[in-house]
């Protein structure tokens, strides 16, 4: 399938946004604080913002090349752009929104499960429905690359989980190079194959969610990456606690109530490391070898199985922690948060 290349320098009011990124048939999330230049990157790819250099190419098709003086107009770039808050045409019905790019909207509406909304106007739709219309409209363009600007931001908290799963499934089925902008690390971890952290117009680190948590390049990435996200199936036990069987086979106990597919979020600083299992009050103990130890300021990020724990440098020293050594990672059921994934 397709492949997109960007090597961009885009001047903005405060700083130059400089981003180099190769995107295969995968979803890359651009994560960062607001004002970091995330949307500017998308706009430059679509031709809506003017880079000074250097290259935007999708599937071998060069859209912008400052060396060769190529700069195609937005309407000449096969880009599927899902705008923040979706930018649906309020005066056109759902099917005419989708047909705006040309072609018969019928199949796309059916594929996204909004066939019965064909005659409705966007103001009458819910957030989740509008997201699907925006996706259908972007796909009607037959894009070489899919750009999604904060696709989850306009959704109610209680529909986020379900919409997140639908969107992840769709992105995987499409197999298009996709770039997703979000300020929410959990959304990025759930939706994207890789995450690029953008701060002040520069990418400070690229990697999977697990890599960013285990070995953050800067304290900022460590803070942004926040909690470990483990996925699994939840069910409420007779004692009132929720038991989550992780996709890897392990079991986690949580005080949050949930049922069905969930993400378990547990922060590295809520996980302690011991050399042997001790009789404490914590519900969750995981015995596994240390995969890596990465310094972050005066702390150490210790990767144990699917988890990353954070301990002080002094503790790591005192316990003589080193890679390969078998340790026990411990966290309390109260330290976990469950987010529905369906």
């Amino acid at each position: 399938m397709g492949k997109a290349r960007l090597d961009l320098k885009v001047p903005t009011r405060d700083f130059d946004v400089e981003v180099a990124l190769d995107v295969g048939a995968e979803t890359v999330a651009l994560v960062g604080p607001s004002g970091a230049g995330k949307t500017t990157v998308l706009r430059a790819i679509a031709g809506l913002a003017q880079p000074t250099s250097r290259l935007v190419a999708a599937n071998g098709d060069v859209w912008f090349d400052s060396d060769r003086g190529i700069d195609r107009r937005p309407e000449e770039r096969a880009v599927g752009y899902v705008f923040q808050e979706y930018a649906l045409f309020p005066h056109l019905s759902v099917e005419r929104n989708v047909a705006f790019a040309g072609g018969d909207p019928g199949d796309l509406l059916e594929r996204l499960g909004i066939g019965e909304l064909a005659k409705a106007k966007p103001p009458e739709l819910s957030g989740g429905e509008r997201q699907r219309v925006a996706l259908a409209r972007a796909l009607a363009r037959r894009p070489e690359i899919l750009l999604l600007d904060e696709p989850m931001a306009a959704l109610d908290p209680h529909t986020r989980g379900r919409v997140r799963v639908e969107l992840r499934t769709l992105l995987q089925e499409l197999g298009l190079p996709s770039i997703l902008v979000t300020h929410d690390f959990v959304d990025a971890a759930a939706l994207a194959d890789r995450i690029a952290v953008l701060v002040g117009g520069r990418i400070v680190q690229t990697g999977t969610a697990e890599e960013l948590i285990a070995s953050p390049a800067t304290p900022f990435v460590a803070e942004l990456a926040g909690g470990n996200l483990l996925t699994g199936q939840a069910r409420v036990r007779v004692d009132g606690l929720t038991e989550v069987v992780l996709d890897g086979g392990l079991t986690v106990v949580s005080t949050d109530e949930a049922d069905g597919p969930v993400g378990v979020i547990v922060h590295p600083w809520d996980i302690s490391i011991a050399l042997a299992e001790t009789g404490d009050s914590a519900q969750n103990h995981l015995r596994a070898p240390i995969e890596s130890i990465v310094p972050v300021g005066n702390r150490r990020r210790v990767r144990v199985g699917p988890l990353t724990a954070e301990v002080t440098a002094a503790s790591a020293e005192r316990l003589h922690l080193k890679a390969g050594e078998i340790v026990v990672a411990t966290f309390k059921a109260t330290a976990t948060r469950l987010t529905p994934l369906a």
Binding site: L48, P74, A87, F89, H91, P123, R137, R141
Partner: protein, 274 residues
């Protein structure tokens, strides 16, 4: 105590203001009974003026829409050096006395004006023809339309324009399928105000086009011409203007109210902070 005094003061001020504004309007309808008033509309002077007014207003208005709409779109969408100066220039006729507009038009298109020799050579004489009426009306009403149209286009969410472009729409389609339909409410309101202003145009027309019955004498000029000859005709035309003006205003209010209703419904559903 002071509270009551203040309430009394505003009540008195409002009563005086309304009385002052309403009395002349009411007087027109009280002076002659309504039935007799409209008998006057069979008068030849009135009928000639009505034809001249409708013909010149329609032509001028169509020209203002055709040239003003793209101009407003350009000024609303593009940021360039001198944009503010251009907008000020377009607004200038708003603050000019119409008589000055008439003199200015004479100086440009009159027989002895700037383009007079060129127009003479082509065998075209504009002054004191219906063409002159059309020019005068267009000159005076265009700022009303262009100002409102700029505001209407600026009110269109730039993301919707950007979305249309990423969906493959070239500039004509963006303009015709997205920008104009979404600005339609504001464009309609600006158009109605400009049309009303054009119908009432007096000073510039009198100076640039004169007041020849059946040729350049529009309804407002006919009022002036009939003032001494047949005051009842002047009254009847004035009454007609009041009714048409009131109809336009009420129409605008109802339209804006209906539109605001649908927009606020839209906002309620979509609003989230950016």
């Amino acid at each position: 105590m002071s509270r009551i005094a203040f309430a009394a003061m505003t009540a008195v001020a409002a009563a005086v203001a309304f009385a002052f504004l309403l009395l002349p309007l009411v007087a027109i309808f009280l002076r002659v009974p309504v039935s007799e008033l409209f008998d006057q509309l069979g008068n030849q002077v009135f009928q000639d003026a009505l034809v001249v007014s409708i013909k010149t207003s329609v032509i001028a208005h169509v020209a203002v829409l055709l040239f003003g709409t793209p101009t407003a779109y350009l000024l609303a969408r593009k940021r360039f050096f001198g944009r503010g100066a251009l907008i000020t220039l377009i607004e200038l006729p708003l603050v000019l006395p119409p008589a000055v507009a008439g003199i200015a038009l004479l100086a440009a298109f009159g027989r002895l004006g700037l383009l007079g020799d060129e127009l003479n050579a082509l065998g075209i004489s504009i002054g004191f023809t219906q063409t002159a009426v059309v020019l005068a009306v267009a000159f005076v009403e265009s700022p009303f339309y262009v100002r409102g149209a700029i505001a209407a286009f600026e009110g269109v969410d730039p993301d919707l324009i950007a979305a249309a472009r990423t969906l493959g729409a070239g500039p004509w389609r963006v303009f015709g399928r997205v920008a104009v339909p979404l600005a339609a409410g504001g464009l309609g309101a600006a158009s109605a105000l400009a049309l009303a202003r054009g119908l009432g145009e007096f000073g510039a027309t009198l100076i640039f086009a004169g007041s020849l019955q059946g040729v350049t004498q529009t309804l407002p000029l006919a009022i002036y011409a009939q003032l001494d000859e047949n005051f009842d005709v002047a009254l009847a035309i004035s009454a007609l203007f009041i009714l048409v003006g009131a109809a336009i205003l009420i129409g605008l209010k109802v339209f804006t109210w209906a539109r605001l209703g649908s927009i606020s419904r839209f906002r309620l559903v979509t609003s989230t902070s950016r």
